[in-house]
């Protein structure tokens, strides 16, 4: 089953995937999900060269605030400096490597490595170091032993990303058509957006690419999430009374660089801003107020788009922002070919009315998260796929061709979002250097 990577197996100018436009066929080899050599190459070509999400600026509101987490397989921490500038560091002492930031989050003016006492300030500078007499006078000059940062750190609308490749294009260029959709999320808050307390850290016994494919897949909603729709039906007042299923509308779109989106209408409530009867009269008033505020700040057309349309946004390679019955940031990374770690947060407008905030958090859990009525079924689907890929090399290919026969009219339940990913994956994996 371990198939060595052999460039040139592709068809139609590709390396590993097979595209036949005549037959509207798009095939992906299943060993891409199981092979260790593939993951090793992905770490070099994708995770070491693409922009990876670290965190949201709102997670470190004050000087000295920090959050530590794994990004692209590396332990990093995001630390707001005494100059208010957010910075990202590799979480490793420049002496002999111990992790210097040992709490998941907190506030500190300095971080001291517990091993030999090397101490760093918020700008990464080495400020104290016992045993200086054992080193030449200029040993620490010019920041030689300062904490080390990833090659590039940039933020777009408070979403902070890193890139380990010093030659990478800037973040805004990289985001391409996805920037428009990050704007539609970031614009929801009159006073900006904030990540709410409470992180959901979980995992899946599946390849990381399966989660990307699943996160903007409209096709599976009716079958995989049948029980979620049963819940909506059984729950008085969570359907919008004016929703017509024929109005789902929208479709899937490739946004460049492997990014993609599906944008559509749905019967659930949106904190920003579609009311459902479950939220009562006070909820109705607040939703109307939010809609009016959006319209006055952004104009009717943009306000309508934000309030009444849902978006599942995929940012290559490993960031999902789902703007649905809640607003979630979901970031994930491969640990082994058959296992990924995922972390999700709830993002909300700063200054949101407390009652709406409570409904938002309650709403989030009806679908999303490791104990929602939908996400666990998604996890199960991916694990069932991974289980099957493991040991049946005789069945070698996935088909993601839905909608290739009508590219001018892509529906939300077509697979153009997945094709965008794989085309970009194939380019990066097949590149020769």
């Amino acid at each position: 089953m371990n198939k060595p990577l052999e460039p040139g197996l592709g068809f139609g100018g590709t390396h590993y995937i097979r595209i036949d436009p005549q037959r509207s066929e798009f095939l992906v080899p299943r060993w891409a999900f199981t092979d260790q050599a593939v993951l090793d190459k992905e770490r070099e070509e994708i995770f070491a060269r693409c922009w990876l999400y670290v965190g949201h600026a709102s997670e470190i509101p004050k000087a000295g605030d920090f959050v530590a987490r794994k990004v692209g397989g590396r332990q990093l921490f995001l630390w707001r400096g005494d100059d208010n500038q957010p910075r990202v560091y590799f979480n490793t002492c420049t002496h002999r490597g111990a992790m210097v930031c040992r709490e998941k989050q907190g506030n500190a003016k300095r971080l001291t490595c517990p091993y030999h006492g090397w101490t760093f300030d918020t700008r990464g500078g080495m400020v104290e170091q016992p045993g200086a007499s054992g080193f030449p006078d200029d040993f620490f000059a010019n920041g030689a032993k300062d904490l080390i940062s990833p090659a590039k750190v940039e933020a777009y609308r408070d979403f902070v990303f890193v890139n380990f490749d010093p030659k990478a294009v800037d973040l805004t260029t990289y985001l391409a058509g996805a920037a428009e959709f990050l704007d539609l999320v970031a614009d929801q808050g009159q006073h900006g957006m904030e990540v709410t307390p409470g992180e959901q850290a979980y995992s899946m016994r599946a390849n990381w690419k399966l989660l990307y494919e699943n996160s903007a897949d409209g096709y599976h909603a009716i079958t995989a999430h049948a029980s979620y729709f049963d819940y909506l039906r059984a729950t008085v007042g969570v359907f919008r009374e004016d929703f017509d299923p024929h109005d789902v509308g929208g479709g899937g779109k490739s946004l460049g660089n492997g990014h993609a989106v599906i944008e559509y209408q749905a019967p659930w409530g949106r904190p920003v801003a579609q009311w459902v009867p479950q939220w009562g009269d006070s909820g109705k008033e607040e939703v109307a107020r939010v809609q009016a505020e959006l319209a006055s700040r952004l104009g009717e057309q943009r306000a309508d788009r934000i309030a009444n349309w849902n978006r599942n946004i995929l940012i290559f390679p490993n960031l999902i922002i789902n703007d649905i019955m809640g607003l979630t940031i979901r970031s994930f990374q491969p640990i082994t070919p058959g296992y990924l770690e995922v972390t999700a947060w709830s993002l909300a407008p700063r200054g949101e009315h407390p009652e709406m905030r409570a409904w938002r958090q309650y709403n989030f859990n009806e679908f999303l998260g490791p104990a929602g009525f939908a996400t666990p079924d998604d996890v199960e689907m991916l694990e069932l796929c991974q289980q099957a890929y493991q040991n049946m090399p005789e069945v070698g290919w996935n088909d993601i061709s839905k909608g290739m026969n009508r590219p001018e009219n892509n529906q939300g339940d077509d697979e153009v979002q997945m094709r965008s990913f794989w085309i970009r994956w194939d380019e990066l994996m097949g590149a020769s250097r």
């Binding site: 979980y202 819940y231 407390p354 009525f373 666990p376 199960e380």
Partner: protein, 160 residues
Amino acid sequence: MALLTRAEVEDFLYHEAALLDEWKTMEWAELFTDDGEYLVPPMDIPDADKSAALFIINDDHHRLVQRAKRLTRRTAHVEFPHSKVRHTIHNVRILEQDDTSLKVASNQIVYRAKRQNLDTFVCHVIYQLVRSGDGLRIRSKRVMLDIDGLRPHGMVSAIL
């Protein structure tokens, strides 16, 4: 009315656990009061406020009944077929008690097995119980997970 002993409270907890281990989820839901709630706060903030923080489970009575119901159907794919679940309960303490209600703490280990994976949920559970004509009922079940992340569990699909 005499106050309840720990043994009597344990009997109730063992009964609740047996219902869950036997997948009698609707009977489990009936153990709750009409204003009952089932909560699993975020692992990083065990004392979080559900109106502000993102919980893992934030079920009011309606939703915990729906959760129970969902698990009786094949369309809850993650639990079709049902995994094997076993609750073990320890360190039961009655923290507070009066004539009508009790606050109880317990440690629980919940094992879930499916497709050759065994996942272990380490829990500290605080119950608010009320005494009724039909015995004890649950007004609040708050399950604090004493693990770093749902890794490799991936989900809370059975009822803890």
